[in-house]
Subunit: 216 residues, 2 copies
């Protein structure tokens, strides 16, 4: 019974996600669903991406949080359109919430939409929101065992960023072992070690992103 309910919810969600996708495509907007644990660096990555693409690519941002508009306020200072979604308790963005946010986003004025999901390694992996690509931000302090513990998330994404590599001198994290574990679950995924603090690896991430946009 519970499983039936979940299937119905996911099926309804997928239909709305499909509608979102059509809306994005008809406006030539490429959308990326950014997911991670709490505090892995989604907002910092958006800020670094905005910096690199300033004057080159017109970007909009949707900020998903259970509560608060802290991140939307930070992003808003960068002078790009930003819409806050507060899920009001829900542990993930769904397609319907995203649809409402898209209605308030000036889609005709942007080419790239970065959507920051709720900080959670589990539930967001199950809900399509109409995005073209799914990206996961892992981070050094979380430890290198996460692919074994949260396999669905690693399986579903198109790229894995390993953030906070500036902390490698102070923490145990086997980047090679981690990457092998990720590739064991998801053979073709892009893996990018980065630091939003030092800027290391951000160029490679942005190049990947632009390549994906151009291939659409």
């Amino acid at each position: 019974m519970e499983i039936k309910v979940l299937k119905d919810i996911l099926s309804a969600n997928n239909q709305i996600a499909e509608r979102n996708r059509q809306l994005l495509d008809s406006n030539n907007v490429f959308a990326v669903n950014l997911m991670s644990s709490p505090g892995a660096g989604k907002t910092s990555l958006i800020l670094e991406t905005l910096k690199k693409l300033k004057g080159k690519t017109r970007i909009g941002v949707i900020e998903g949080d259970i509560r608060s508009s802290l991140d939307a306020e930070i992003i808003g200072k960068e002078g790009v359109p930003v819409i806050q979604i507060n899920t009001g308790g829900e542990c993930h963005l769904d397609a319907s919430m995203t649809y409402s946010a898209l209605g308030n986003m000036p889609l005709q004025d942007i080419e790239l939409l970065l959507i920051e999901n709720v900080g959670n390694l589990v539930c967001p992996a199950e809900f399509a929101i109409g995005e073209h690509k799914k990206v996961l931000i892992s981070s050094i302090p979380e430890g290198d065992d996460k692919p074994f513990k949260y396999p669905l998330m690693f399986q579903k994404v198109d790229a894995v960023l390993i953030n906070k590599i500036d902390l490698l001198p102070y923490l145990k994290f086997d980047i090679q072992g981690f990457s092998q574990a990720v590739r064991g679950i998801n053979e073709k995924v892009g893996i990018f070690p980065i630091s939003c603090t030092t800027g290391q690896g951000i160029q490679e991430w942005v190049s990947w992103l632009l390549t994906q946009m151009s291939r659409r």
Copy 2:
């Protein structure tokens, strides 16, 4: 309709949690539900707690993970009874899974049961599992804004540990501001800065734990 289903699920869960609590009480076992983001240090805290209480308090451990038994294997080496729960996709432990694990735990041989929940700052806060106390492990790399973004979790717990304080020289984290934000949500919560790497603050945490056990 969705809300009705969720209410039914939570109500059924609470009934089983109550049964778990009676089972624990009838065996004089004090149970703690340990929650955190992925990689904040739940397993490390259990290891440090086992070290401090070795020969003093008889401890059992339940390890909750979506998949894998990595943490249970680590804890098992310490020579304490450990039961692994694999939720098979579910983003939190519920009372029913916990009931099954309790059936395999030698309750008559232990006084303290440490239950490591799935790494997630959202969903575990909603599901009682029969525990006497709920404890949240925050960590320095996650950032000090989490109480504003995940208020339910901070509201529900009896203690907040701030782990990885050995990383304070390398990261921005305002402990005083964080503590004020936590107290704004949950006035009476215990707050303990700790490091499972250096051992700092572990004695204070263990003292709090023993006091809670003695007050039961």
